[in-house]
């Protein structure tokens, strides 16, 4: 912990060439998967409806404002990782928390009310990260793109996240069999659960057939328009919160 990891990158003539080659590669990769999938067939939409429950109940139509104490708590709980794009290092921000939190709170509240996220909040740094140590460092395929958001935007994201979580929890909208991003759940609980079920079956003299699915660049092929309609129709996120989530406005501008 704390020791700096050695950055592994392909050998290249200039950083600019390298950045361009990665940029082309990652964009092209997603384009190829998208072409593979083909145009989404809307006539199939009805077929899917049986699996997607329409949201009924009180919708999340207003984020509600944040408070200085909420902002302070989020910042103090955060680790000191900072991004090169952030104007000040996280440790310094923490030291000046009393002076800065009123300003940040005001900025965040304006964003939540107006469903607008300033450009500076959206700029991310994309960094290619080698998938496993020991892979050929000169092959672009062996890297995954990881984006690094400015610290302040992460704080704002957490403010939003808390509100969405509260909404999802109060309507029990989470999939119970999903271990990711959930309190008291981890890759370990996921493993224990499945392993336990298999062992129990074996004890009962039963067999288990297990299928492990592999998705291509799962996080990258999501269609934003579809995601927005899912959020609205199946999870009851609407109005300003939905607008805030609108990718066209809030998707980070990628800086390679």
């Amino acid at each position: 912990m704390g020791e700096s990891r050695k950055v592994i990158l392909p050998t290249s003539k200039s950083p600019k060439n390298l950045a361009q080659s990665f940029s082309d590669f990652f964009v092209d990769k997603i384009e190829r998967i998208r072409t593979d999938i083909g145009k989404s067939d809307m006539s199939e939409a009805s077929h899917n409806d049986e699996f997607e429950k329409h949201f009924e109940g009180e919708k999340l139509s207003d984020f509600g404002s944040t408070s200085e104490s909420e902002v302070k708590t989020i910042i103090q709980k955060s680790t000191n990782k900072s991004c090169e794009l952030g104007p000040i290092p996280t440790w310094l921000l923490k030291n000046c928390i009393d002076e800065l939190s009123p300003i940040l709170t005001r900025l965040f509240n304006i964003s939540l009310e107006s469903a607008y996220v300033p450009l500076g909040f959206k700029s991310v740094k994309m960094r290619p990260l080698i998938k496993k140590p020991g892979l050929d460092k000169n092959v672009n395929k062996n890297y995954r793109p990881v984006s690094n958001l400015p610290f302040i935007s992460k704080v704002l994201e957490q403010v939003v996240d808390k509100r969405i979580e509260a909404h999802l929890n109060s309507h029990s909208l989470h999939e119970p069999q999903q271990s990711a991003y959930k309190k008291f759940h981890s890759t370990e609980t996921a493993l224990v659960r499945v392993q336990n079920d298999i062992l129990q079956a074996l004890d009962n003299n039963e067999n288990t057939m297990l299928v492990i699915l592999d998705l291509s660049a799962a996080f990258d092929t999501i269609d934003h328009q579809k995601l927005l309609s899912t959020l609205e129709n199946h999870f009851g996120i609407t109005g300003t919160p939905l607008k805030w989530m609108n990718f066209e406005r809030t998707l980070p501008n990628c800086l390679y």
């Binding site: 989404s40 049986e50 991003y181 079920d197 298999i198 003299n205 039963e206 699915l213 999501i222």
Partner: protein, 117 residues
Amino acid sequence: MTYSVPQGSVLWPKNYILYTKPVGAICKKHGLSFHFYADASQLYMTFKPKILNSRHKTLQNIESCLIDIVQWMKTNLLKLNADKTEVILFMPKRNNNVIDDIRITVGDSSNQTHIIC
């Protein structure tokens, strides 16, 4: 850019699991147990080997579930890597009586099942 979810973000990966929640519903419909960790998905089904044809029926159940999942993913712009999808059969050592070749069809590829006793 009109798609993609930045991974360094707090919020967007969570959107992914909301987006793919119907996959769970598909599994339930076919009577499969399942567990997800973000995009890592494990589906499984337990059966009593003594009952005639139970293995065959389980296989059919899983296959028809996968057909629905592949179709759902297609309409929702996600791609299943059919040839990287793995199937494992777990059984107690004592009843590993002659097991013939079990193959499962995922999308357009036919995958060999690994057998672990």
